[in-house]
């Protein structure tokens, strides 16, 4: 009798676990198939390269793709060095009160709604620093949002590196810089890459922060100080403000998802190559 009830519990637990997994995967598949079904008709080369016409109902998303990639590029250029520096400082050079306060502020920053970042970016970059509505303002605002995620993940990766390696490096008389560069950072690379992926995901999905900083202009940008419309802003605009823009919105959303997958894969393979080179080259 006792044995049976145990088996029943096991069965119940298995069902619950399977159901929740199926629910999550199902929701994702539904979203993906809905996007693909509605968007695939739009997806062709000319959609990717031509300029939007008739408020985006017709034409393509060429300039928007370019703006999106430029904004992301600016954000990454700001996030990676600053983030790595802060993470190294946190894990290797400080402990106690200052580290705790930095960590706490990062946690708070990670939870701040993006609209607040948008207003902050608008005030700081657009107005105070005089960058106006521009790709630069947008990218830097995104960097502010990406930094907490990237730093936490990198720092966790560095802290998880085995003490044996730290002590081994020190016992060989290596400087702290050499230990970091040759041992700790490569060993933490998977965590750093994961943090970068999360940050890129957040950046590409961001809409609210960009409306206030990089703006709506859907022309091809001439420089980083031009306003540029990001894909997410384009999707928002098409679905909320443009009647009859649904088809284009679906197409753009599908492109956004594909872009995310492509960037993730490229970054992962680059990181892999970098890593295996570091591990095997002489």
């Amino acid at each position: 009798m006792l044995k049976n009830s145990f088996r029943l519990n096991d069965l119940l637990m298995t069902i619950i676990v399977w159901l929740s997994a199926a629910l999550v995967v199902g929701a994702f598949l539904w979203l993906l198939s809905d996007l693909t079904l509605h968007g695939i008709a739009k997806l062709n080369w000319s959609f990717l390269v031509s300029a939007p016409e008739n408020a985006g109902r017709d034409g393509g998303i060429g300039p928007i793709l370019v703006s999106t990639l430029l904004i992301l590029g600016v954000a990454l250029l700001a996030t990676i060095p600053l983030g790595l520096g802060t993470a190294v400082y946190l894990s290797e050079f400080t402990s106690g009160a200052s580290a705790r306060s930095i960590r706490m502020s990062l946690n708070v920053l990670a939870g701040v709604p993006s609209i607040v970042f948008g207003l902050f970016g608008n005030a700081l970059f657009c107005i105070w620093l005089g960058l106006g509505f521009s790709i630069l303002s947008g990218g830097l605002t995104l960097a502010c949002m990406m930094l907490p995620i990237f730093i936490r993940s990198t720092e966790a990766g560095l802290s998880a590196v085995a003490t044996e390696w730290r002590h081994g490096a020190a016992a060989l008389g290596l400087t702290q810089a050499a230990a970091l560069w040759h041992v700790l950072l490569p060993a933490a690379a998977p965590a750093i890459i994961a943090g970068l992926m999360l940050s890129i995901g957040r950046a590409l999905a961001e809409t609210a922060a960009l409306i206030f900083t990089s703006g709506y202009v859907d022309r091809m940008p001439d420089s980083l100080s031009d306003s540029g419309r990001a894909l997410s802003v384009h999707i928002y605009d098409l679905s909320m403000n443009v009647t009859g823009g649904d088809q284009s919105a679906y197409g753009s959303a599908l492109v956004l998802i594909i872009l995310l997958v492509v960037i993730n894969n490229v970054a992962a393979s680059l990181a892999n190559r970098f890593l295996s080179q570091r591990i095997t080259s002489s």
Binding site: W165, H167, A171, L172, L174, H182, P186, A187, T280, S282
Partner: protein, 286 residues
């Protein structure tokens, strides 16, 4: 007691000149020229004392085993010799340690140079996640060796010294972490030897290895005698007896580690002058 044991081993050996000779078996091949002189050393973590009042001289070219139960401060003692204690938060040491006449407790000391001279091997083999070659090459480069041919030569010599060359010569660019545990430990020893240290600290270098790999590493340690001053922590009394010329027995009294007895390995095992030592080496306590 301390004084007596010192006198005991000093009088027991005849000084001869120190040479890098071929390895002679047996306990009488190294000479009592102290290279490391420790005086009244105490170590504490966050104010809690773990080791108190240790004084001993460690002789050049000899193998000195540190024995005693877990937690009696052997590893702490070892870590003071290359100032690895600096890396442990809250660790504080007091007393004097002279290595070749230099006070290594001096806060102004160039610890990087000290650690180059005093290599360390850890309990768990810790090759870096790099290739076999780069594990040895990277520290060499960091210490200023740039010439390709010189580096290659040192890599090969270090690997030959630990008997790893024939096993890995055709896969020097393979990841070091793909080696077996015993090979990894020998690579770590090679990595330390490539920097041409004069002292090697070993913290239970065989305890994480299987018996066969352990025997290989132990034989290697034997071969290091005379060329390097070796200080080895081991829980394996038979091993201490086989490899060491001198032995230091640590014990916890009132929760603080103390050096109980120090002397020639053979006399410490065969005719210990302290009851605690006698009980420990015969397996009655510990």
């Amino acid at each position: 007691m301390m004084h007596d044991t010192k006198k005991l081993w000093r009088s027991a050996v005849l000084p001869t000149s120190y040479t890098l000779s071929n390895i002679e078996q047996g306990a009488a091949c190294c000479v009592p020229i102290p290279q490391i002189q420790v005086e009244n050393l105490s170590v504490s973590y966050h104010g809690k004392s773990v080791l108190e009042g240790v004084s001993l001289d460690i002789n050049k070219g000899c193998i000195t085993a540190l024995i005693g139960p877990s937690g009696c401060g052997k590893t702490s003692f070892l870590s003071t010799l290359n100032r690895l204690t600096d890396l442990i938060p809250g660790c504080h040491m007091q007393g004097r340690i002279n290595i070749d006449g230099v006070d290594v407790t001096d806060p102004r000391l160039d610890v990087l140079a000290l650690r180059r001279k005093v290599g360390m091997i850890f309990q768990k083999p810790n090759p870096f996640p790099l290739s076999i070659r780069r594990n040895i090459e990277m520290p060499l480069r960091e210490h200023g060796l740039r010439q390709r041919s010189a580096i290659d030569e040192r890599v090969e010599r270090a690997l030959r010294d630990v008997g790893l060359w024939e096993e890995v010569r055709d896969r020097l660019d393979a990841p070091a972490l793909a080696l077996s545990g015993g090979q990894q430990q020998r690579l770590c020893i090679a990595r330390a030897l490539a920097l041409e240290p004069s002292i090697l600290l070993m913290d239970e270098p065989c305890s994480a290895l299987d018996p066969i790999a352990s025997a290989v590493v132990e034989e290697l340690i034997q071969r290091l005698r005379n060329r390097y001053t070796v200080v080895i922590v081991t829980h394996n009394l038979a091993q201490a007896r086989r490899v060491a010329n001198f032995a230091a027995f640590f014990w916890m009294t009132e929760r603080v580690g103390k050096l109980i007895e120090f002397g020639r390995c053979q006399s410490l095992f065969d005719s210990p002058s302290h009851d605690l030592t006698a009980a420990y080496v015969t397996g009655i306590s510990g």
